[in-house]
């Protein structure tokens, strides 16, 4: 609690009148003066806030929790290991801009699966993502469709998939079927090998929707996968059986709220206090931490600065 000034010290109150839905044994705030609690959770670190909101009772009492997709869980655990030390401290070396990553699994899907040897193995999926959990202070840096990928029988070292992505708009006022607002088509080529995940960057495609804090995103994804590499064998041949699980949606966000960790602030703070060795200016980095190449102008500018 940084804003101590607002904490009213009320010697007479030993205990705190907690709002009804907080179980006393869980609420670590009980030793705080009454004024603080009654003003709501503003002072709580979001972790405690989230956890206080979710006492075991509130956990059970809610609508049965949707269990995350095990693949998605595995992916996020791997991301965690890459981004934080064993003690849970964000790794400085990563240099990524985001301080929040949310992974959503589609909450409803209508999978159309038909095989047409001439067209290859066609997957058509209708996906609905609910983004209620994204707060107004979480700003989008990058959005990715995450495919988990396992070919039971790798028949070709490389696969080319033709993807057609479209956003469906629901016009609830009129009972008309959802209409397609905008769509995009692209091809993906990747080496199969030991790859388990395919990330499709859809940042620019979803930016208008997420920027307007759209709560529900309805996507229609049409994927056709064929064996081979169009550059080496102009004629894509032999459809393959690719087990494509409907993709999850991954959002890399920058949370600007006070409780979130702002790594650039702490770096700047370090630069000011001589106790810290001066950090070499990190080259331009991608929101996800991929290192770009530092251009000479950047170097000169940083040196001048």
């Amino acid at each position: 609690p940084h804003s101590r000034a607002r904490v009213t010290s009320d010697k007479s109150s030993g205990a705190v009148a907690a709002p009804e839905d907080i179980t006393s044994e869980l609420n670590p705030l009980l030793w705080l003066p009454k004024g603080v609690v009654s003003r709501g959770y503003g002072l709580l670190p979001p972790l405690l806030k989230v956890l206080s909101d979710r006492g075991p009772q509130s956990w059970e009492s809610q609508v049965p929790r949707l269990q995350p997709d095990s693949r998605a869980l595995r992916y996020m655990k791997r991301l965690y290991k890459m981004s934080a030390t064993k003690e849970g401290i964000p790794k400085a070396s990563r240099g990524h801009l985001y301080n929040t990553v949310r992974l959503f699994t589609p909450c409803s899907e209508c999978q159309h699966h038909h095989r047409d040897p001439r067209e290859g193995d066609v997957h058509s999926v209708d996906l609905l993502f609910n983004l209620d959990r994204v707060t107004t202070l979480e700003h989008l840096l990058k959005s990715v469709l995450l495919y988990s990928f396992d070919t039971s029988v790798p028949t070709s070292p490389s696969i080319t998939c033709l993807c057609h992505l479209s956003v469906k708009e629901h016009d609830f006022s009129s009972q008309v079927c959802p209409s397609v607002s905008h769509s995009i088509a692209f091809s993906l080529h990747f080496e199969v090998g030991r790859r388990k995940w395919v990330e499709i960057d859809v940042t620019s495609f979803l930016q208008p929707l997420i920027a307007t804090h759209r709560r529900n995103i309805h996507l229609a994804v049409n994927v056709t996968c064929l064996m081979g590499d169009p550059q080496h064998s102009p004629r894509l041949a032999n459809p393959i059986h690719v087990a494509l699980v409907p993709p999850s949606l991954l959002l890399y966000l920058n949370d600007t709220s006070e409780q979130a960790y702002h790594r650039w602030n702490s770096l700047r703070h370090r630069r000011k206090s001589p106790a810290w060795p001066r950090q070499s200016n990190s080259p331009h980095v991608e929101p996800t931490g991929d290192r770009g190449t530092e251009n000479s102008q950047g170097k000169r500018a940083s040196r001048r600065r």
Partner: protein, 131 residues
């Protein structure tokens, strides 16, 4: 000792070093203490996927009368000591509190089944001060 037989008894060199050490390294003074908990102890591991353990640490100990450079305390801390000693003893002496923190990355399961990775500010005390 010949002149004043009642003087303190002679101490061996090793005791002497112990004696002086208490001035160089005062006991019970304000410092950072380790504290580690596991979320399963709190039964929070249902929705906290990682980390399994969390070391928030804490600050504890006495604040010396003249703090200054050792704790990086602001000048106000000395003024508060003077107020306590000279003007109004109901004003508390400076307390031993965290001065710096480090963040904590947490992987949690959201109620709607989505998975959240977030880096929270100021979750682990790394340094103590008197103020």
């Amino acid at each position: 000792r010949e002149e004043n037989p009642k003087a303190a008894p002679a101490t061996s060199p090793s005791n002497l070093s112990e004696y002086f050490k208490q001035f160089l390294f005062p006991q019970n003074e304000c410092e950072l203490h380790n504290f580690r908990l596991s979320f399963s102890q709190l039964k929070w591991d249902k929705w906290i996927i990682a980390p399994h353990r969390y070391s928030p640490q804490y600050c504890k100990g006495d604040c010396p009368r003249v703090v200054g450079h050792r704790y990086g305390s602001p000048v106000h801390t000395m003024v508060q000591n003077i107020i306590y000693e000279k003007l109004d003893s109901s004003v508390p002496r400076p307390s031993c509190v965290p001065a710096e923190y480090s963040p904590l990355s947490v992987l949690t399961l959201e109620p709607d089944g989505s998975i959240l990775y977030k880096e929270y500010e100021d979750m682990i005390a790394t340094k103590c001060t008197c103020r």
